[in-house]
Every structure is written in structure tokens, then in C-alpha cells.
């Protein structure tokens, strides 16, 4: 399949009174058409910031200071705001968020908001767009007659997320970015939503970037997984591979921390805590917490290299005999 998205050396900073937060430190991501990529990591790793950067939704005090975001051959970072609005946001790339009820406009009915999304993306009038709303709602499993007339606060979390999905997929985007779409939902509703997304995305042939802290979800839903830590991508591989043979010490630690039903291992966790991104540690940002740390780790940031076929790691343990990622 064709390469859809190529993000290289993405750097993002946030200027606050405390200092400059170096949120993204040269992020490397890539995605093919119809592929599903999961971005996993813990708090502060930069997964949401990466997604927002792709959509150019980083506002001051944030700033994209470097890098390329090549989507369908064009660098989105060099595009004008109007062009982004007109042809990319809500058209070629759409996004759904974690708190669905808050992501919807509270003063307009659901039907109106979906119609608005359809009208914007297909460049048709609101009247015509309204005609497509029932189909859109049925597709996500909602009773359109009732749902169209509801306001966001009248929806449950699961219903609101379905509405968001309807809006996001009505535009038939090439790429859907889902930022923690089920984290705020109950477990059984989460399962429903993921199943729905799975079906719709398969039918619509959309590529998906799924951002989550839940490795189980990433494992089931995604083809490939990117693990991030403190603003860097530290491991990328096929979603089964990363769990069966993680290479990076952080990935290993993370996977060892997940409680699994029936497994009788002791959960160890990872000692220390995530670094302050205003003055992050030099070299590899994980080195202060890494049991395998040696001198090189303290001074040089490791590159993301292909260490096994389609398995990339950014770690000096694997720095010899490997090709660039």
C-alpha cells in the first residue's frame, strides 16, 4: 500500500512562564493507506501533541519548531491556514477526541452538527447535508429520529462518541486520528465503540492513528504500534511483535507493568518518574530510569533504527549493525 503520512524530525515546544517545554524531540512517524497505527505511551510522552501537530492545531504558547509532516506528498507544515482548513482538516484528515460530550457544541442539536460537518466536507448546502444525516446516524448504530433532535448534554458518553464518529467518518477521510476515544467510557461501552470503529474503518478503508495509553486496545485494534516516551519515539513494530518481543527497556518495563487476567507474574513497574520536559535529561531521555544505561546513553540521543525486519528501536543497546529507520 502507498505511503500516506510521513512525519520526520517533528519538534514542538511550549513556552510557559516556567520555561520552555520541549514536548516533541524529533518525532518520527509513518503510516500507509488503510493502515492502523497505534501510538501508545504514558502521560507527557507527546502522543496527543503529535496528533495535534499533524492537524496543525498547535496554538501559542505552543510552536512547531521543526520537522516535516508529509501527507499525500505535501508538507502540511508549509501549507497556509486557509488551505489546511479548506482541504485537510475535516476533509482528508478528521479527528475524534477523548471527552465526546465536551467536544460537541452544547448549543446545537446533534442533527445540526452532523449536517454542518457533512456540508463543510462535501461543499454542499446545509439542506442537502441534512438529508444525509439519518444515514450517517444509522451507520453508527443510533436511532436517527430520536438522536437528531437531542442536544449533546442529553447523550450518554457512548452515544456522544458515536455521534463524533459519525461526524468524523461522514467526510470519508483518508486518515482518522482518534485521541483516546474510549478512555472516558465504561468498559462494556468501550468494547462496543471499538467494535463499531473496526467495522466502519474497514468498510470506509480509512487509515487510522489511534492514540491510547491502553496497550490492550492498541494491540487488538492496530496493525502497527509506535511507543513514545518523553517526546521521542522509542520503538515501532507490528502490534503483536511489540508485546511478544519488546526491545526497548522502557517498552519491556511498560509491558511488564500491565496486569493480565490469569498471568501470575509480579508487576514491577518502572522506577523513577517521567522527566521534567523543561530541563529533560541529556542524551536518551529514559537513561536515568534505565537499568541498562551506559555512558553513551547519557550524552547521545539514540536514533530510531530498524533492528529486525519492520521492527525499529531507538536505543544504544542495539546501535551496532542496524540500518537507519
Amino acid at each position: 500500500m502507498k505511503r500516506l503520512l510521513d512525519v520526520s524530525d517533528l519538534r514542538v515546544m511550549f513556552h510557559t512562564y516556567r520555561g520552555t517545554i520541549k514536548a516533541l524531540n524529533g518525532v518520527r512517524l509513518w503510516l500507509n493507506e488503510e493502515e492502523r497505527l497505534g501510538i501508545v505511551g504514558e502521560t507527557g510522552c507527546g502522543k496527543s501533541v503529535s496528533a495535534l501537530s499533524i492537524m496543525r492545531l498547535i496554538d501559542p504558547p505552543g510552536e512547531i519548531t521543526d520537522g516535516e509532516v508529509v501527507f499525500e506528498g505535501l508538507d502540511l507544515l508549509k501549507m497556509s491556514e486557509e488551505e489546511m482548513d479548506k482541504s485537510v482538516r475535516g476533509k482528508k484528515i478528521s479527528m475524534i477526541f477523548q471527552e465526546p460530550v465536551s467536544a460537541l457544541n452544547p448549543v446545537f442539536k446533534v442533527g445540526f452538527q452532523i449536517a454542518e460537518a457533512i456540508a463543510h466536507s462535501n461543499d454542499i448546502s446545509m439542506d442537502e447535508a441534512y438529508k444525509k444525516v439519518p444515514e450517517s446516524l444509522e451507520m453508527v448504530g443510533l436511532d436517527w429520529k430520536r438522536s437528531m433532535e437531542l442536544y449533546p448534554h442529553e447523550l450518554s458518553g457512548g452515544m456522544a462518541q458515536r455521534v463524533m464518529i459519525a461526524m468524523a467518518l461522514a467526510v470519508k477521510p483518508k486518515l482518522l486520528i482518534a485521541d483516546e476515544p474510549t478512555s472516558a467510557l465504561d468498559v462494556t461501552i468501550q468494547a462496543q465503540i471499538l467494535q463499531l470503529l473496526d467495522e466502519l474503518v474497514r468498510m470506509g478503508k480509512n487509515a487510522v492513528i489511534l492514540i491510547t495509553h491502553d496497550l490492550g486496545i492498541a494491540s487488538e485494534f492496530c496493525d502497527r504500534i509506535t511507543v513514545m516516551y518523553a517526546g521521542n519515539v522509542i520503538e515501532v513494530s507490528d502490534s503483536q511483535e511489540v508485546f511478544q518481543s519488546p526491545l526497548h527497556p522502557y517498552s519491556k518495563g511498560l509491558i511488564n507493568s500491565i496486569p493480565i487476567i490469569g498471568a501470575s507474574k509480579v508487576l514491577r513497574g518502572i522506577p523513577g518518574s517521567v522527566p521534567d520536559l523543561v530541563s529533560p535529561p541529556p542524551g536518551c531521555r529514559f537513561h536515568p530510569r534505565c537499568e541498562f544505561c551506559f555512558d553513551r546513553c547519557r550524552v547521545e540521543l539514540p536514533d530510531l533504527r530498524e533492528v529486525k525486519p519492520d521492527h525499529f528501536v531507538a536505543c544504544h543497546l542495539y546501535s551496532d549493525d542496524s540500518k537507519e529507520g
Binding site: 510557559t16 512562564y17 516556567r18 522506577p271 523513577g272 518518574s273 522527566p275 521534567d276 536515568p288
Partner: protein, 295 residues
């Protein structure tokens, strides 16, 4: 046993100091707030150093010097009793400062007490206290102050009580809102689980959290306290002669407005200036608080 390291999110022990430095920095940036600060500092200085600044005794009557227009000897002129207006205005600043302080403390105390009790306990207590507050709020400030003042009798102290009884309602509402917000936070529940009684929670946990917005509100109201006091003084309900309260001085000059304009004008100007100062200061405080919260 594994021990946590110190490489944690923000580990500055002097965060309070840094906070202050940042506040002062923002303060200096805000031109209007600076102007307001200057005016108020000036005002307080006059009040404190009154005996050193005023050239004459503010209450001594000397009819031979009556109704003199502003000159080198009497910068603001004299009134119908021969009293130097400048000295009267200077000493008047003391009275104004006194009024502001006392009203702020009294209305603040009543307001907070009513507010946090109503907000924390809710239910019937809240209903009763809020209805009482509503009754006080139903009347326009000055009218109510006048009525209370008339009831209590004349004089500065009664005026202070009257103005306090008018002003506490806003503070009550504010404290109530804060108390309601805080009482449902987890840490209050945790303290109840520890066995803390209601009084302890109110005084040690809820009250400190209300202080910040209440103090801001109290400083925003200082300008209007002066206006109300001056209004009462003007109407003869507050300060009694010969007390040189600014409103009373303005009232003294009422019959002489056309020919001896200086008697009413100068104290009036001072009232306007100080109220302006408080308003600018208040706006500045609001501006500074706002973006800091967004941080």
C-alpha cells in the same frame, strides 16, 4: 522499599516567593494598575502623615479668616467658619482610611461567616441565610445605608456599621459559591473520614480557600465605600460637624457653590481621585488574577 527520587515535576521550595515575584512583574506591566497604586499610596501617606502636612488645625474656628479664596496661605481656601480647607481635606483622609478599614473588616467578617455557613451546610440553613441576604440586597445601597444610619443615629461609627451592613452581601455570595465548590472536593471528604468535625473543616479548610477571591472583592469595593460614606456625610447622616469627613466638607460648601466654589470642589476632587485610584487598582488586580489562573 523503593524510595521516590527528587526529579519530580516542580520541586522548587520557594514557589511562593516566585509567585510573588511574578505578581509584582505583572503589576509593573499594567500601567493603569500602577497609576492606581500611586494614587492609593499617596492617599494612605496623606492620612498617615496628616499632622506633618496640614498647616492648620482643621477644626479651629476663626471667623476673621472666613471664606478666603485659595491663596498662598490657604492653598484650598477657607470655609464659612474660617477653617483651612486644605488641612480639613488632609485630616479627612485619615477618617476615610479609618472608615474603609473598619467597613472592610466588618463586612468581610459578616460576609464570610454567613457565606461559608450557607455554602457548606446547604439545605435549610442555606435557604434561610440566602433569603436574609436577599432582603439586604433588595434595597439600593445608599438608601439602605441611609435608613440604617438614621436608625442607628448620627456619627461616623454608626455610619461605619450602616455601610458594613450594606456591603456584606456580596462577600456572602462569593464565599458561599467558594464553599459550595470546595465542600464536594475529595480532600474535604478525606478530612471528614479522618474524623474532623464541621467547625474544624469550616475554619481550617474552607475559610482559607475563600480568602483569595474575597480579598480581591473587598479591594474592588473600597472605592464604593468612600462614595457611600461621603454620601452619608453629605446628607448629614455620617460624620457630624466639625469632623472633616470629605462628604461633610462638600456639604458645608453647598450654599456657597457659586461664589466660594473651593469649599465643596476640593474635597469633591479628592473623593473622585481616590475612588478612581481604587477602581484602577481593582481592575489591575482582576487582570492580574485572571491570566495567572489560566497558567
Amino acid at each position: 522499599m523503593e524510595t521516590e527520587g527528587s526529579n519530580i515535576v516542580v520541586s522548587r521550595r520557594n514557589l511562593m516567593l516566585e509567585d510573588w515575584k511574578h505578581t509584582l512583574y505583572l503589576w509593573r506591566q499594567n500601567k493603569l494598575a500602577m497609576i492606581g497604586t500611586v494614587i492609593i499610596v499617596f492617599f494612605i501617606a496623606i492620612a498617615v502623615f496628616a499632622p506633618l502636612i496640614a498647616p492648620y488645625d482643621p477644626v479651629k474656628v476663626d471667623l476673621s479668616q472666613a471664606l478666603l479664596s485659595p491663596s498662598f496661605e490657604h492653598i484650598f481656601g477657607t470655609d464659612q467658619f474660617g477653617r483651612d480647607i486644605f488641612s480639613r481635606v488632609i485630616y479627612g483622609a485619615r477618617i476615610e482610611v479609618g472608615i474603609i478599614l473598619l467597613v472592610t473588616v466588618i463586612s468581610g467578617a459578616i460576609g464570610i461567616a454567613v457565606g461559608i455557613t450557607a455554602g457548606y451546610f446547604g439545605g435549610v440553613i442555606d435557604e434561610i441565610l440566602m433569603r436574609i441576604t436577599d432582603i439586604f440586597l433588595a434595597f439600593p445601597n445608599l438608601i439602605l445605608a441611609m435608613a440604617l444610619s438614621a436608625m442607628l443615629g448620627r456619627g461616623v461609627f454608626n455610619a461605619i456599621i450602616a455601610i458594613s451592613l450594606v456591603g456584606w452581601t456580596v462577600i456572602a455570595r462569593l464565599s458561599r459559591a467558594e464553599a459550595m465548590k470546595i465542600k464536594s472536593l475529595p480532600y474535604i471528604e478525606a478530612i471528614r473520614a479522618l474524623g474532623a468535625g464541621n467547625l474544624r473543616i469550616l475554619l481550617l479548610h474552607i475559610l482559607p480557600m475563600c480568602m483569595s477571591p474575597v480579598l480581591v472583592q473587598l479591594s474592588l469595593r473600597m472605592g464604593s465605600i468612600i462614595l457611600t460614606a461621603a454620601g452619608l456625610g453629605f446628607l448629614g447622616l455620617g460624620a457630624q460637624p466639625p469632623t472633616p469627613e470629605w462628604g461633610a466638607i462638600v456639604s458645608d460648601g453647598r450654599s456657597y457653590l457659586v461664589d466660594q466654589w473651593w469649599i465643596s470642589t476640593f474635597p469633591g476632587l479628592f473623593i473622585a481621585l481616590v475612588v478612581l485610584g481604587f477602581n484602577l487598582l481593582g481592575d489591575g488586580i482582576r487582570d492580574i488574577m485572571d491570566p495567572r489562573i489560566r497558567r
